[in-house]
Symmetry: C2
Subunit: 257 residues, 2 copies
DNA sequence: TTCGAAATTTCATCCAGATCAAGGACTCAT
DNA sequence: ATGAGTCCTTGATCTGGATGAAATTTCGAA
């Protein structure tokens, strides 16, 4: 079924032949130096547990636009995203597509309790992931209660985000959808310690449209209108400067937080 | 904020003064006789664990149209629905509403890892629930790995359902939405061993509309059209007989399962 | 630097579903 | 039974966002 199967470059984690010479804070395995560890599922682990997890991980890199997992394919692996942006999507047989989420570094991907994946995951930019064979991961899950609780908390938060997105898709105007989207990206960047004002849009207009239940034309028009009203500028098509974030909040239709 | 706070009739479970006289299959506590146990979170528990859970449960009944939990309210309890239908919803300040899900007997309600509930839950019909104080429930969660794994699996399945709903809200036509909704109800009823063909609609048209991102008028017109095309009949406004379920499948826009 | 394909924006038109406005049909309390 | 209120349906009209088509802009590769 997969038209051109993903080719991943992969190497075992925790077995690198490192050439650094400084002694003192020598990490036992690369996970200790991982910059997204604190915001990922790994933050719940003790050092010893982290070593066990590291032992079953492979580092994987994926080119922009390649597919990471296919909807309906056997769910053999789970992943932790360490670099880049991933989009999750579902398609109808006639080609209509809904993007159900964007993943950023630190996000967890692929956990299901069914035989097969329920959505497709594709690399929006070049991407790095830690890959874990599902059965090994689930074995560790049973041994590390912290890990299981953390995943439950992650799943619960994703469920809340999904409910927000249903409200957006079912009841917001195109203007409100785009305003909500921009603020979501800005807040997320801030939470990750990244520049949150001239915000970066790693995905193209078609992706944004399919995430918001709109067309590219409507996304473009909504951005133009926000620009005309002095709320933002577009230094480039993939960069948005928010001139009046507070005014943008008003336009999301949401309660102010 | 809550205009008229819910009044629940409540009584401790597991302390009833039962008057039955037959000896042999005497259940130690009412949970053993619960008819939704097998499809609820409780199915993951050993008899001894079930007793522990039962000890912290209160049986609660709620009138139709009463509110069970308020969005933004402190999340002090979790619930297991044993009877009736519940709707979960989110509102925008101007009153637009999105129903994010309907719950049926066996469904779990209220699990969050935030201070407050993220949605409102209201009784569509008269409802019975098992209520658990959240802190006590979370304490048991840490002790019973089965329970935690079961909740993770439930959360993961809910997430998949949420993604299906995003596809519906963002990309399906009104016809496809209504067809999908009817089949969802029918399948659910079948899974619960209930009559799945003349299906029962416990919720009104406004609820259906707010679940599908439509208006009541559009729901009504979509039903009329399906009726005109010989796919269903409406013996009463709250009953739908599916005359050609297979043809209805075709109209959902989905892959055939 | 220039070229060419792809992405984005812009413009004109259309239509599915919303809105506005009555009618009917249940339902339940009297 | 009866009537009043609610819920549901039907009809007429409007409109936000889709569709179709084409200009621009962007950006990587030669």
């Amino acid at each position: 079924m997969p038209p051109d199967k993903l080719i991943m470059t992969s190497s075992q984690v925790g077995r690198g032949t490192e050439t650094d010479t400084i002694r003192p804070p020598r990490p036992r395995n690369p996970c200790h130096a991982c910059d997204v560890r604190e915001m990922s599922v790994c933050s719940s682990l003790e050092p010893a547990e982290l070593d066990r997890l590291s032992a079953i991980a492979s580092k994987v890199t994926v080119d922009a636009r390649a597919t990471i997992i296919y909807e309906g394919e056997e769910a053999d692996n789970v992943f932790n995203l360490t670099l880049g942006t991933v989009r999750l999507s579902k398609m109808l047989p006639d080609g209509r597509r809904q993007i159900t989420g964007f993943l950023f570094p630190g996000d967890f991907l692929g956990l299901v309790f069914t035989e097969t994946y329920g959505y497709t995951a594709e690399a929006v930019t070049a991407v790095s992931l830690c890959r874990f064979p599902r059965w090994k991961f689930e074995a560790l899950l049973s041994k590390f209660p912290h890990l299981e609780k953390r995943l439950l908390s992650i799943a619960s938060n994703e469920l809340m985000a999904a409910q927000d997105q249903m409200l957006l898709l079912g009841r917001k105007s195109s203007q409100e959808k785009v305003a909500s989207f921009l603020l979501m990206l800005s807040r997320r960047a801030a939470r990750h310690g990244l520049p949150d004002n001239p915000i970066d849009l790693p995905m193209n207009r078609a992706d944004i449209a399919d995430y918001l239940g709109l067309t590219t034309e409507t996304v473009s028009r909504a951005l133009k209108r926000l620009h005309k009203n002095g709320l933002l500028t577009l230094p480039s098509p993939s960069q948005v400067a928010l001139l009046q974030p507070e005014a943008l909040e008003e336009l999301t239709g949401d309660d102010l937080p």
